[in-house]
């Protein structure tokens, strides 16, 4: 009787992950049309609208959320969560601000493909694949920081597509970044709360492996999606 439970849990999680991927995939994680129109028509500093846009971008950004879910999967102590998430925040803030200010143009599809790879990587790490398959052990903290840099480039490209007005650029950019962090805190508190409930279930140990396989599957779907979209666009 108990044996059937982990598989049921895993199936539920897999369905949830995939439907989230599919629903969100429909918009390819760009800014919604109305928001894009607002940014394109905006000149001068607009602190709160940009905080809102940043938070919305993070909360509805399934690729960032999947990665964060992978990062906090085995982190049960609040201190650890804060440490890893701070590293991620430092990473993406650096490239978000530098990318927009220095007007660094990166291919949006390729950067989103790397973000998808970060989900695959995190799932592999959680499955213990990196300790077992290779001799080389990557530092998990360093990995979060480095992938944070790529996520920041992703944020920067989606912001640059909107042709930001130079008036108030720095203030708007910082506001957007603050919004991203607020959105991340909102999303993380939900994710961490859900995981802490789940972690107390006896089935957690059994389902952790297969759940990360599902997470990896979602990462692969995103990766193939972005590479195909890139081929279609070019």
């Amino acid at each position: 009787m108990h044996g059937g439970l982990p598989i049921k849990h895993a199936l539920l999680l897999l369905t949830a992950l995939l439907s989230a991927t599919l629903v969100a995939g429909a918009q390819a994680h760009n800014m919604a049309d109305g928001d894009a129109a607002f940014v394109a028509g905006n000149a001068g500093a607009a602190v709160f609208p940009f905080i809102y846009l940043g938070a919305k971008h993070m909360v509805t950004g399934y690729d960032h959320l999947l990665f964060l879910a992978g990062v906090v999967f085995f982190l049960s102590r609040p201190g650890q969560v804060i440490q890893y998430v701070t590293l991620f925040a430092i990473g993406h803030s650096i490239t978000l601000i530098a990318g927009v200010l220095a007007n660094i143009q990166v291919n949006a599809y390729l950067i989103d493909a790397i973000i998808a790879l970060s989900v695959v990587y995190k799932a592999l790490e959680n499955m213990g694949a990196l300790q077992r398959l290779g001799r080389w052990h990557p530092d998990t903290r360093l990995a979060v920081l480095v992938f944070g840099l790529f996520h920041g480039f992703g944020l920067a490209t989606s912001l640059q597509e909107l042709e930001l007005h130079p008036d108030g650029l720095v203030i708007n950019l910082i506001s957007f970044n603050v919004g991203v962090e607020i959105g991340q805190i909102i999303a993380l508190s939900l994710i961490v709360a859900a995981f802490s409930v789940w972690r107390r279930q006896p089935s957690f140990e059994n389902t952790a492996f297969i759940s990360n396989a599902a997470l990896m599957c979602a990462g692969f779907v995103l990766l193939i999606y972005q590479l195909t979209a890139w081929q279609f666009a070019s």
Binding site: L18, L22, G25, A26, A28, A123, L124, M127, G128, A129, R132, L133, F209, I210, A213, A214, M216, C217, A218, G219, F220, V221, L223, I224, Y225, T228, A229, F232
Partner: protein
């Protein structure tokens, strides 16, 4: 042996995740997002064309298609207004041309909200043309004023989806009913 077992589990899980990802992509996302349906699953699930955005290109209209052509004489410092009764979403194509410069104001008055007016373009010109779409139910049209010392003849043509037209001039108004392009 345990080491061997976990290694095999890993290999199976990673391969399964990758194969599942390809299957989901080919069967569901490719037809829904990219309009390609190699397995026919998009047709079976009704996903084909989910992402097609024909709605942006086509804007079907319920009102009869009408054309209107008028000529106005504006003596120095005379003005007039010519407006169409249009429902929200109705569109028209317009052109006007005058043999002298006129002040113009393209604007609309909402008939459901009292005192709600919106101006879309104003300035001094001898000609203008464009495509106009009514943002709300109301009277949509032009105000012209001759601010020069010569009499100006203004020729005005539209084709579009409106109920009727009203000319406001010198405190009075007169309605016109442009004919539909097809009678039936």
């Amino acid at each position: 042996m345990g080491q061997q077992q976990t290694r095999r589990n890993l290999a199976v899980a990673i391969s399964a995740a990758f194969i599942a990802a390809i299957a989901i992509f080919v069967a569901i996302i490719l037809p829904a997002e990219f309009g390609r349906d190699p397995l026919g699953t998009g047709r079976v699930l009704g996903l084909s064309g989910v992402s097609e955005t024909t709605a942006d290109a086509l804007d079907a209209q319920l009102e009869f298609h009408k054309t209107d052509e008028v000529e106005f004489i504006l003596e120095p410092f005379q003005s007039l207004e010519y407006k169409y009764l249009m429902d929200e979403g109705n569109g028209l194509v317009y052109s006007w041309s005058a043999d002298g410069e006129l002040y113009f104001d393209l604007h609309a008055e909402n008939i459901t909200v009292e005192d709600y007016e919106e101006s879309y373009a104003e300035g001094d010109a001898a000609r203008d043309m464009g495509v106009y779409q009514a943002a709300f139910n109301g009277m949509h049209g032009w105000f012209w004023e001759n601010r020069g010392f010569e009499t100006v003849t203004l020729r005005f043509k539209t084709s579009g989806f409106y109920v009727n037209a009203t000319e406001f001039r010198g405190g009075g108004s007169s309605d016109r009913s442009p004919a539909p392009v097809f009678d039936n």
